[in-house]
Structure formats: structure tokens, C-alpha cells
Symmetry: C2
Subunit: 531 residues, 2 copies
């Protein structure tokens, strides 16, 4: 096993103590192994990572905010400076386009996210301080005092990487140690990121065990770890099956888990907007559905289209795009197989194949852009199975006779990350909007007008979250600072505690720029002064 | 079954459709049945309640905030006006003292809580609006769009009643329909409250099915209901065993559950403060431990006392109080049996009996004030079993040789609602504080200085919550407006949605008095104006 790459535990790059095997990345375009061999960690590695992270949790919770922020900023700068190497590694392991996707979009997004987390840490903005001088009570959000376990997904090698993405930035900003579980689809990318994180960590003076990284472990060990009460929380982005298994384990141990599971992101084309610009919308749908070969959690998986002449024209235009497209490269054999199964499930439940429906020709992992169609009645009669996520360049059109059918469809959806309504600029669709939006609103995290759901801005007003089963909790977002940080915090109240023994943001003195709710009024001034 | 009292479903007082049996309240002082017979609801009642609440959820989510607030205020006024009747009913069913507890403390607390919830509803303060004009994104907290199921506990017939307490006020303030499950210890009190709620509801013009109330159902039906995905969330206050069973069911269905389970509320007596005023603290401990016959979730169940002369004097003084006291009345036979079991468990794990330890003489349900002691080493060696909650007038002293032993104890505790440190006024204990507080802090929701944990102020800076297993989530409080409302909300983002189609607190116009995070700055002004 001496040839295996090292894992990062307790501030050291170290050989896996009990590797259960090894694996290599694959070039998705050729289905051939590339790069070095990485260990599949055994129970001893997991225990060492958890013990090391646990041992520094209370110490890390007490470090100054500026020290955490400096680390995040330094790590962001290191990622930017290392862009050539990181992009080359990620491109080789994922086949995602170098430009614009990896270099101009995702990598700056990842480093920008770390900087936003640094800013939130430095400003204490995520701590939501509340001071009640009459009652002698002061409360804020605080570190969990336990490690956060993060599982990264296959589809964003930078921006959702367990060692660099939003979950990582959020957990660290709240001063929690992290155990990152990389996705085995891009181990070398994750390793490179972890090296940059490790260097920045050592330079920062933070506890060296603030960050660990493992590349892979089997499902049974993952469930055991997720069910360990020494964890403070879990962040997960990935498949519904995997996420729900982890959720069962975590729930049993009382460990909060923030799992982003799956979403089909219904898009309603209202009648007026199709009359206004149906052909352009067909192009928009196609473009959105092909982004990252459709391997986006916000992929437009269901499109509701009126059954009328404008709807028919829209479908014909969309069908032309899908039919003329070449197969799209997928991340892995697993994704291809899952997609084949998903499409088969949809067809078996009554969907009609309009285009694609097979892998297509060529080397590597791929799938033909696929358009399916079903009528609203069939959809509602088999709503559960027809909401099966087909993770890839696939969309299911649902044809609706009238507004009532559209409203019934809205009420038939499970929880989703997003729901979109395309409406005409002249307002002629707004009665239909009002008939659909209330039911749709309660079923989605982000309600979108006139835009495809792909494209998730890193904004404090973003909600990249949604009702179950799109995520495990309807109250939290995985993207957007400082809101995403709230997932990895505990509510701490201090009752009658002398000022000198309070954390900095709850003392009388103001924290520059920090708004606090003091005796019922928001203020950035010191306690006892009028703002 | 025609003699059974009616349940409240879909805005109607109606006979139970499928009562599985009946029950009556008991006078705890005599262990004799009192009052009318109430139905134990069957599956059809539960389904009817869930269906009725579900049917109005989207409608209720859209009502104006003022209408909700008016209902809450009217209900609060009705409770105050009906105090004589309510207090008499609650006293008969719980044996809690009429004065000051029921009339002067708990009833005003309950109506005050409803008014605070009304104020939060009217001000929209719980919605946390965030506006990012550059990104076209606006987000806030919003109703769940599904009913909230609330299980009330035995120990607060007004302030935590499923039909009137903090969970109820919180869920309604966020415009969610409620299914209240009263505690069978005080059905007539709950019925009277529900009648007042129902009258206020009908007068308010809100959907009549916004509130349902059932008195009792068996555990299996409760688990089935808790696991129904039509629920938006669950609020529970009660025993750990019951709460964890509901949590398993809810977790499986992806229903967020906010369960307040159990807490032993460790209290550290630091060396200096015992030298300063040990005798007074022994009285404080005794008084706190006897409140409500010790049937408080914040009862001081564990007291850490230095093993030195001051510690010995404190223990002797406390022992005198406990020894001289008469048996305390308990709510029910179940509480008495649970307490007997709990004390037996503690004794079996090595605790020594100093006083009490038995039910004592007399009619009804009761238990002798009980003081136990154990050394720190034994406690740590059997930490899990010695943290068994003994719900009643019982406290376990843990004798610690030195600061290191105290710190080790702090690190041995499970999650608790509260942790208390008594320190000397001259600061001589502060080194010991610093040695203990960091580990204790991460294990409790509220860190208290120089006060017993009983007494939970309704303040926005309160945290009546704590890490698992004291509650099911470390990030939320069950008491304190508007924070408690956050439990029953979903995060909603709007992306590119025209202003006219936005909810009121996200439109450009200011909402009087409402602070919003607009483009990174907190402001109560309209979007586009400088505050």
C-alpha cells in the first residue's frame, strides 16, 4: 500500500492506517483510469480523523474571528494562484469544460465563496446577537463545539468540494473543525485543494487538526461515522439514496444533517409568454438542460407546457434542439447507469420518448440529450414515480390543458430546490400565476420568474435549499453568506453572566459594523448608547 | 360514547368519530378521577384533523399579518378574562398552587406570550427579510404551508399547553394551521383554552380549521401521525422516551421535529462562592428544586460541589432543607412511578441517598424531597446512567476534589437546556470559571451565572433549547419571540419575481418598523432610499 496517496489527519499528510483498498480517478471521455492511486480508508482512519477534529473543537471555537477570516482569505488566494493546476486536474477528472465553466465560473465562485465566508467571520454577521439588558439575557449563534462532517458531490469539483465549497466555508467560518470526505470522482482535484488548505492552515496558527480530508470509504463505515454523536453536524450534497441513508444514521444519533438530496425543478411556461417568445424559450430550456451535461441539482427536469398551438410550437422547437444535439459526457459510469435507470423508470410510468433515450455512440461515459413528454393527468396519477430524478441532460414535458391542470400539477410536486414560472411581459399571465404560485411556493426553496433554475448566485438572499425531500430541512440554505453558516451553529444564551466573561459580540462595546438587536432595537452602537 | 366531550376539528366541536376509549382527569392530591369523560381518539379523528388543517394551510399562509395578530391578541385577552375558571380547572387537574404559580405567574405568562407572538406577527419581525437588488434576489422566512402538530407536556397547563403555549403561539404567528394534542393530565383546562381559542378564531375571520384539538390518542396512532409527510413540523415537550419515538417517525418522513426532551441542568458551585454565601445557596437550591414539585425541565438535577469544608457545610445546609420537607404532590401516577424508577437507577449506579428516596405518606401522588450524592470519579465512570433524569423534587450532588475534576465533569455531560456556574462576587472564582465554562458552554443552551435554572424569561435573548439530547436541534429555542417562531418557518427566496407578485415584506416599500438587510445594510427604509 506504500504507493497510495496520503490522507490529511490531525494536521499531517499521512499514510492510511488501514486502507481497505485503492482507487483511481477516471477520464470520463475515455472511461480510463488516470492519476495516482488513492486509499479507501478503513475504520482506523475515520476514528483518527474524528478524534483529531474533536480534540480541537473547543479550542477552535475560542479563536479570534480575524484568525479564521485570515485563513479563509489566504486559502482563497491560494486557490486563485493555483488556478492553472486546479483547472487542469478538475478538467481531467470531470471532463467539465475548462472555459468558461471551470476557470472563469466555478473556480472564482469557490474562492469568492471563501472570501464571503471570511467577511462574514470577520464581521460576526452570522452570529445574530440579541441583547436584553432588562432580563440580563444575551444570545447569539455560536460554534457547535464538535466537528462537522462534509460529503462533497460529483458535480462541482471546486464550488461544492468538501474541502473548499460552501459547506466547508460555512463550517469553518463558524469555527468548527471539518472532516472532509472528497468525492471519489475527483480525488486529485480534492487533494490539491486540501494541500492548499493545509498550507494556509499551518500559516494561520489555527489548530492544525481544524481540517482533515479522506478520499473515500465504504458505505457502512460512512453510516457509522454519520451516526457518531461526537459530530456536531453533517453537510451532504449528493444522491437521494445515499443522503437518506446518512440521514437515518445521523438522526438516530441526534446529529443535525443538512442534506441536499435531489430536485427536478419544475418550470411552468404560462400561456402568454409562449405566445410572446416560445422559440427563444425553447432555446433557453435546451441550454439550461445541457449545462454540465445536465448534471446540476437545479437542472430543469420538468417543464409544464399548455396544450395549445403555442405550446405545440414550443415543444417542436425544443425537440429540434434535443434531436440535433450530440451525446453529452457524464462524470462516471455510475451517473450513466443511474440516468439509464431513471429514464427507463419515467418511460415505464407512461412518459413518451420524443428524443434521445439512449447513451449514444462514442468512448467514455455519455448520454444523448433526451426529451420526454407526458400529459398532466398521467403525471398526477403517477406523480411519485414521474418525479424520479434523471440526473443528466434530460427533461420531461408535462402537457396541461388549462390553468386548473397547471394548479393541480403544482400541488402534486414534492419538495424542490426551485420552481419557475415564465410569464408574459405585459402581465397577461398574472391570473394564471396567482392560480399556481401559492401551491408551488410552499413546495420550493426558490421561486423564479422568467429564468432557468440553473445558475445559483452566492447572495445573502439566495436559498439553495427547499422542502423535503429536496433537502432535509426547509429552513436552511447551502449557498449564500452569512445564511449558509447558520447550519453549523448552536444557539447560545447567557443569563446573568458578567460582561468580562461574555463572548466579544455580546459585550457592551460595539463590534464595528455589527448590527445587534439591543432591547428590541437594531443598532451597531454600544449597549447603553443611543444609536 | 355519547357522553364523551367533543374534539375540535375543522372549526367544529364534534363527537369523536371513532373513540377508542375514554379517560378522565385525576385530582393528584387524592388520586381520584374528576371531571367529565374525554375521548381517546382513533385513526379517523386524527385523519380528519390532519385533512382539515392541511386543506387550509395554503389559505392561512396568505392571510394578512394583522389578522393573525388580532386573533392572538383576542385569544390572550380571553384567557386573561377567563382566569378564574382556567385557574380553578388547572389547579384541580394539576394540584399546582393557585397563587402565585397559576394565577400570577403562569397564566399571565401564557397570555403575554400570545401577545408577544401577535406583536411579532404584526411587525413581521420573524421573517428576517433580505434583499439583494443587484442579484434580483429577495428572501425571507415564511409559513410552512403545512400543519404543525403540537404535543403539550404535563407540567405547564397554560404556558406550554399545546393549544395556548409557546409552540402554539409560534406556529400560529407564522401562519401555520395547528393540530394540538393536549396532555391527558389536564384535559378540562385544555378544553377550556380550546373553547376560547375557537371563539377568537371564529371572530377573527381566519379559516376555521386553523386550529384543531384532540385530547388523547394511543402511542401507535401518534407515531403514525408524526410520520405523515403532510405535516410541516412538530413541536413536542415531554419525556425523552416519548419524544425520541416521535422523532424517529418524523425524521423518517422528513418532518422537522422540535422536541424538548429532558435535561438535568448541572449547577457548579465554585469554591469562592460557597465560602462567600454557602448557606444562602443551599436555600436557593432547595427552593428551585421544589418549584412545581421539581417537575420543571430546568430543575437543578445535578449540583457540583467542591469537596472541602465550605462544600461540606453547603451540603449539610441543603440536607437540612431536604430532610425537613414534606412530600411534594406530583402530577400523576406515571410521574411518581417514573421518579421512583429514576431514583432507583441513580442509586443502582452508585449514588448515595442523603434524604428522601421514597414516596412518603399520604393520599394521592407524591414524593419525598430527595437529595443524593456521588463522587466525581464515580459519576464520570458511569456518566450516562448517572445523567438519568429524575423528574421531580430530586437533586444529585457530585463532589469534586479540585478544578480539574470539575472540568472533567463539565466535559462528561450530555446536552442540557442549561448549565449554571455560581461564582464569588470578588472574582476569585474566575480562573475556575475559565477552566470549566468552555466545555460546559458547548453542552448547554443557556449558560447561567449565579442563578438557579428554573425561571425562563420570555425574551428574544432567551434560549430554551440546547444540544441533543436535551432537544432535537441545537439551533432553536422553544421560548422567546420572535426566535421561537423560526422553528415553524421555511426559507423562501424569490428570484427575479416582479415586485407586485412579492410578499409584502419583500416589496420595495418599507414595512413600518421592520428592519431588512438591503444590499448588505440593515435598514427600515424603502428599497432604493438611503436610511
Amino acid at each position: 500500500m506504500s504507493a497510495l496517496e496520503h490522507v490529511l489527519i490531525a494536521g499531517q499528510w499521512t499514510a492510511s492506517v488501514d486502507a481497505q483498498g485503492s482507487f483511481r480517478a477516471a477520464d470520463p471521455t475515455q472511461a480510463e483510469a488516470i492519476g495516482p492511486s488513492f486509499p479507501v480508508s478503513g475504520a482506523a482512519d475515520l476514528e483518527a480523523a474524528l478524534a483529531a477534529a474533536s480534540a480541537v473543537a473547543v479550542e477552535l471555537a475560542a479563536v479570534p474571528a480575524a484568525q479564521i477570516a485570515d485563513f479563509l482569505d489566504a486559502y482563497a488566494a491560494a486557490i486563485d494562484a493555483d488556478a492553472d493546476t486546479l483547472v487542469a486536474l478538475a478538467h481531467a477528472e470531470t471532463a467539465l469544460p475548462t472555459e468558461p465553466r471551470l476557470r472563469s465560473v466555478e473556480l472564482p465562485r469557490a474562492s469568492g465563496q471563501l472570501r464571503q465566508a471570511a467577511k462574514a467571520a470577520r464581521s460576526h454577521a452570522w452570529t445574530d446577537p440579541v441583547i436584553d439588558t432588562a432580563a440580563g439575557l444575551r444570545a447569539h449563534r455560536a460554534p457547535l463545539g464538535k466537528p462537522v462532517l462534509i460529503f462533497g458531490p460529483n458535480n462541482f469539483p471546486f464550488a461544492f468540494n468538501a474541502i473548499a465549497g460552501s459547506d466547508f466555508a460555512s463550517a469553518i467560518a463558524a469555527r468548527n473543525p471539518v472532516i472532509a470526505k472528497a468525492h471519489p470522482s475527483h480525488p486529485a482535484t480534492s487533494q490539491r485543494l486540501a494541500q492548499l488548505a493545509h498550507q494556509a492552515l499551518l500559516a494561520s496558527g489555527l489548530p492544525a487538526a481544524a481540517v482533515q480530508m479522506l478520499y473515500h470509504f465504504d458505505n457502512a463505515l460512512g453510516l457509522k461515522l454519520a451516526g457518531d454523536a461526537r459530530l456536531g453536524a453533517i453537510g451532504f450534497t449528493g444522491s437521494r439514496v445515499g443522503g437518506l441513508a446518512l440521514k437515518v444514521a445521523a438522526d438516530k444519533a441526534g446529529v443535525p444533517i443538512y442534506a441536499e438530496l435531489s430536485s427536478i425543478n419544475p418550470v411552468f411556461m404560462l400561456p402568454g409568454v409562449l405566445a410572446e417568445r416560445g422559440a427563444a424559450l425553447a432555446q433557453e430550456l435546451f441550454n439550461s438542460c445541457m449545462m454540465g451535461s445536465g448534471q446540476f441539482c437545479t437542472n430543469p427536469g420538468i417543464v409544464i407546457v399548455p396544450r395549445n398551438a403555442d405550446g405545440d410550437a414550443f415543444v417542436a422547437a425544443a425537440l429540434k434542439h434535443f434531436s440535433e444535439a450530440t451525446p453529452k459526457v457524464l462524470f462516471s459510469q455510475g451517473v450513466q447507469q443511474g440516468l439509464e435507470q431513471g429514464v427507463a423508470t419515467l418511460l415505464g410510468a407512461g412518459a413518451e420518448l420524443l428524443a434521445g433515450g439512449n447513451a449514444g455512440d462514442g468512448a467514455g461515459y455519455h448520454y444523448q440529450p433526451t426529451l420526454l413528454s407526458v400529459d398532466a393527468g398521467t403525471f398526477i396519477a403517477h406523480a411519485e414515480v414521474l418525479q424520479t430524478e434523471a440526473f443528466g441532460p434530460v427533461s420531461l414535458l408535462v402537457r396541461a390543458d388549462d390553468t386548473a391542470a397547471m394548479a393541480a400539477l403544482a400541488a402534486s410536486f414534492e419538495g424542490n430546490l426551485t420552481g419557475t414560472l415564465y410569464r408574459a411581459a405585459d402581465g397577461c399571465d398574472d391570473d394564471v400565476w396567482q392560480a399556481i404560485a401559492p401551491a408551488l411556493r410552499t413546495r420550493v426553496g426558490r421561486l423564479i420568474a422568467n429564468k432557468m433554475p440553473t445558475g445559483v448566485a452566492v447572495s445573502p438572499a439566495m436559498n439553495h435549499g427547499g422542502p423535503y425531500p429536496s433537502t432535509s430541512h426547509p429552513g436552511f440554505t447551502a449557498v449564500g453568506m452569512p445564511a449558509a453558516i447558520h447550519r453549523f451553529t448552536a444557539l447560545h444564551s447567557y443569563d446573568g453572566v458578567p460582561e468580562a466573561l461574555l463572548p466579544v459580540e455580546l459585550r457592551d462595546a460595539a463590534v464595528a459594523g455589527l448590527q445587534r438587536l439591543i432591547d428590541g432595537r437594531w443598532s451597531d452602537a454600544a449597549v447603553g448608547t443611543s444609536a
